[in-house]
């Protein structure tokens, strides 16, 4: 009797797990639907293909393990925010690594990569460096609006703010970045 009940329980668990697995198909659908946009945004934030792959993988891993493997209410919002946060933390990590390396080699940062010349890579790198330093609310708007190229309405929906607020935040972010980049 006892073994029978245990067997039923196990069978129930297995059935539940397989149902959950089947229901996790939405992860692949989300990957198909939002993957290209996510990769584009990550590439613009990170500028390194290996980092893009890592951040992308980490984003979908987090999605698969979201609150007991359940589907978030707004998958797109979850994906974009997670991806952007992951990318920014990678950028910060990279910047910290650079700093320690430059300290070790006794090179001043001012004479290193931050030379005052108009160079495509240099400008993009400087921007990335400063975007990572922005306050969270401004950073989210600038990454979603300018790097992911989403509309203000979509940015507002993802961040839970109005499109007008998103516009204001974007303006503030650009002003702050301008001050930092002009230093």
């Amino acid at each position: 009797m006892f073994t029978e009940s245990v067997g039923y329980e196990l069978w129930g668990e297995v059935a539940g797990l397989s149902a959950m697995e089947a229901s996790q198909k939405w992860i692949l659908s989300a990957m198909q639907r939002h993957g290209p946009e996510l990769v584009r945004m990550l590439w613009r934030i990170l500028g390194s293909e290996q980092d893009v792959c890592d951040a992308y993988q980490s984003t979908f891993l987090q999605l698969a393990h979201y609150e007991g493997r359940q589907k978030p209410k707004h998958v797109k919002a979850y994906l974009f925010r997670t991806a952007s946060n992951t990318a920014i933390s990678m950028l910060r990590h990279r910047a910290a690594e650079k700093r320690t390396l430059s300290k070790a080699t006794n090179k001043a940062e001012a004479t290193g990569p931050w030379m005052n010349e108009i160079d495509c890579k240099f400008l993009a790198e400087t921007l990335r460096h400063y975007v990572a330093q922005l306050p969270e609310h401004l950073r989210n708007v600038i990454t979603l609006r300018d790097l992911a190229e989403l509309s203000y309405a979509e940015v507002g929906r993802i961040l839970g703010i109005s499109p007008a607020t998103a516009r204001v935040y974007r303006c503030k972010a650009v002003q702050l970045l301008a001050v930092w980049m002009n230093k």
Binding site: E21, G35, E49, C53, Y56, Q57, L61, C120
Partner: protein
Amino acid sequence: MITNIKIPFRDRSQKNSHNKCRQIRSWLTKALSKSFNVDAEWVQRHVMNCPRCQRRLAGIGKVELALSMAKSQSHQLDLLMRANTQAIGVLKHSLRKMPKAEKLRTAAPEPKLSERCCKYNRPVTNVAACIAILFLMKVGIFSSANAFQSHGQKALRQYYVSHVGEELTNDIFTT
């Protein structure tokens, strides 16, 4: 029951007021952007003599330039494929084996519909222009043919009036 009937009216009036609000907002934005635009003459005149504003504008320009640089940097075409493969690799075994996963492993980035249609812009414009020209020509030809016909009829009538008389001419032209 009565309240049930009233609610849609209230909704409609609310919608109307929202639409009005939106309209007014768009008018205000347009009006403000006209007078407070960076390209506005009075702004340009001020910027010419104000080093602080010049510095600020230069900074904003630099940020915009850096943003466009970041956007224009290209990556390898198979990046999406590699990213998908890496991400699928950490998902559950059952998900990894699905045909959709296989499809994602070989997915290539596709341009947006607007970008795809961009190359058809010129031919479509040309065709539209041709159609418009044909239409105008057709309208012009028919209208001028009608005018020519009516003028001819008038001249003929005049000839008959002068040679046969008004009454007989009326008889001829009415039949």
